[in-house]
């Protein structure tokens, strides 16, 4: 079973977002593998372990720094990694990203594609589902439980929705987007970290994938950011101290009479 996992590199969730010259300043950002993609990597590894066969290939699109995300996935146990080189500004359009990743998936061949439900940077939540459409595959998004049967070419998934979970059956190959709760990602082992050093990470350009670079230029984007802003600061609040019963009573009064929200 060939499992392809798409991983994005994003700023760590502890990052305080600052603007510089009108855009998000990423100069001092600590880059990490997207947390939702970590669940996708882990699920790929678990499926391979459960089946006792198969290959997990991790693909990341972006500038040279994304190699670190690929190496991280390799240290966890992924078999191979591929770096698809791309300019981050031009590739801020999710449809362009999905188009490139779909071409990479075709070149690799696959039985299952896994990725996170969203990148915790621009929060588009689009690429995984778009991949399915471009590759003419079924998809299940926001998945918290997954079973696959490669012999029958079938799978079962549980997907989180408002007020509960939907249970789905799907045909393989398919695209699955991972939600937190799907699994508990492992830590890299020393052996895994050492093994990364021996791995060669091929670099593919969009042209290597048969894509016209002009179709991926910034001007070809279907959607683009015009400008950025930080949320307005919240006005200073009223902080109460003292006897628990008194402060609780005062808080209830303020919520009802001043804020008028309860």
């Amino acid at each position: 079973m060939n499992i392809v996992v798409f991983v994005k590199q994003v700023p760590d969730t502890e990052t305080r977002i600052q603007l510089k010259d009108g855009v998000v300043d990423t100069s001092s950002v600590k880059w990490v593998a997207n947390p939702y993609d970590e669940f996708a990597i882990e699920e790929g590894l678990r499926i391979r372990e459960r089946l006792g066969q198969g290959k997990v290939t991790v693909v990341s699109l972006g500038p040279d720094r994304v190699k670190e995300a690929i190496k991280y996935a390799l240290s966890l146990g992924a078999d191979e990694g591929v770096h698809v080189k791309g300019d981050e500004v031009a590739l801020s359009d999710p449809l362009a990203v999905a188009t490139v990743l779909a071409a990479a998936a075709r070149k690799l061949g696959f039985d299952l594609i896994l990725t996170g439900k969203q990148g915790v940077d621009h929060d588009w939540s689009q690429v995984g589902v778009m991949l399915a459409e471009i590759l003419d595959l079924p998809h299940v998004s926001v998945v918290v439980h997954l079973e696959v049967d490669p012999d029958a070419k079938k799978g079962k998934a549980k997907r989180e929705v408002e007020g509960g979970a939907e249970l789905l059956e799907f045909d393989l190959p398919a695209v699955i987007t991972a939600q937190k709760g799907l699994n508990e990602p492992r830590y890299a082992s020393l052996k895994g970290i050492m093994a990364v050093k021996k791995k060669v990470i091929p670099e593919w350009s969009p042209a290597d994938l048969g894509l016209d670079p002009a179709s991926l230029a910034e001007g070809a984007a279907t959607i683009r950011f015009v400008d950025f802003a930080l949320p307005p600061p919240r006005p200073a609040g009223r902080i109460l101290e003292g006897d628990p019963a008194d402060t609780a009573r005062e808080l209830v009064r303020l919520l009802r009479e001043e804020a008028k929200v309860i």
Partner: protein
């Protein structure tokens, strides 16, 4: 040329959900601000007899309805085919879809099929020089970006629920219903069941009041304190990542950058210090209440009201006090 909007009606058991009416109101406002455009509603699957009139009364000028046996339950593939068929009839410049589990599952598939731009989870719109511009949170709300579309039509946007107010029903408003047929769609991912989550609480993204617990809850058993407060207030229970990662409560309750981004009227943070990834997910709440024993905790910087003290003493008193005043 006057702009044309369409709203993909999200329905439940044949009835349009509140977010549908919210989107109609915003589309109406934009159409008017652009000098009198039209607003269509697109309904896929079963629709109660009174619903077309209700959609018209809340802002739709026309209704395109696709009905087919394959639309009885939601599937991305069948709904994508149906939406495409409806768009062929409605031909809007801009299409709004709800940023719900269903809408977020469908919209990227539809945008990729039509090869048009999709702005996700929008919280504001304006028309600038005749072009639609959308405002949307990024980094879970640590920042906002405004986005614009290429010339490919329709522009698609998913719209966050509880962001816009629905218009009051106007009985004088009427709309024609146009039926569109759907050819058979090969559905390769099918919903076969539903598991309801425990309890009767609203989903975090739909809740008006949220009570969240953090690291200071110390264990799963102490969440009972918060559940009691939730019951009194009709609130939904949330949690910080620390509490979820410790295994005290299920991930579906997590608020923050790797959980839900919420915007309730009241958010009560109990024993939550306010890590930046938590603040990102809740700081657009209208009123924030913090209860924490550390008066220097970052949560107090975003709080509208706070109590510095021991949550194990304060929360029971607060529950008692709310129960008393809400009974009156």
């Amino acid at each position: 040329m006057a702009p044309t909007f369409a709203v993909l009606a999200e329905t439940k058991d044949g009835v349009a959900r509140k977010v549908t009416l919210e989107m109609l109101a915003e589309a109406r406002r934009l159409a008017q601000s652009a000098g009198g455009g039209s607003v269509g509603a697109i309904a896929l699957g079963p629709l109660d007899a009174g619903e077309p009139a209700r959609l018209a009364q809340h802002g739709a000028d026309r209704i395109v309805h696709v009905e087919s046996a394959s639309l009885t339950t939601y599937s991305a593939e069948a709904f994508c085919g149906a939406a495409q068929a409806a768009l062929g009839q409605a031909k809007p410049d801009s299409l709004f879809i709800a940023a719900t589990s269903q809408g977020k599952d469908l919209a990227p598939r539809l945008a990729a099929r039509l090869r048009v731009g999709l702005a996700s989870d929008c919280v504001g719109f304006e028309i600038r020089d005749g072009e639609l511009v959308a405002r949307r949170p990024i980094y879970a709300g640590k920042a906002f970006g405004r986005v614009s579309w290429s010339t490919a039509r329709p522009r698609i946007a998913t719209v966050r629920p509880n962001t816009f107010a629905a218009l009051p029903a106007d009985a004088a408003r009427k709309a024609e219903v146009e039926k569109v047929a759907l050819e058979a769609v090969n559905v390769r991912a099918r919903v076969v069941g539903f598991e309801k989550s425990e309890g009767e609480m609203l989903d975090l993204t739909e809740a008006n009041i949220i009570v969240s617990g953090g690291r200071a809850m110390q264990g799963p058993e102490n969440f009972e304190l918060l559940r009691r407060l939730c019951t009194v207030l009709g609130a939904t229970l949330g949690a910080s990542r620390a509490a979820v990662d410790a295994g005290w409560i299920d991930h579906s309750h997590q608020v923050g950058q790797t959980g839900k981004v919420v915007n309730p009227t009241v958010y009560i943070a109990v024993g939550i210090s306010g890590a930046i990834q938590h603040l990102a997910g809740m700081s657009s709440s209208r009123t924030i209440v913090a209860i924490n024993k550390d008066k220097d905790a970052p949560i107090f910087k975003v709080a509208s009201y706070g109590i510095v003290g021991d949550l194990y003493q304060i929360v029971p008193k607060l529950t008692e006090e709310f129960a008393k005043v809400l009974r009156e």
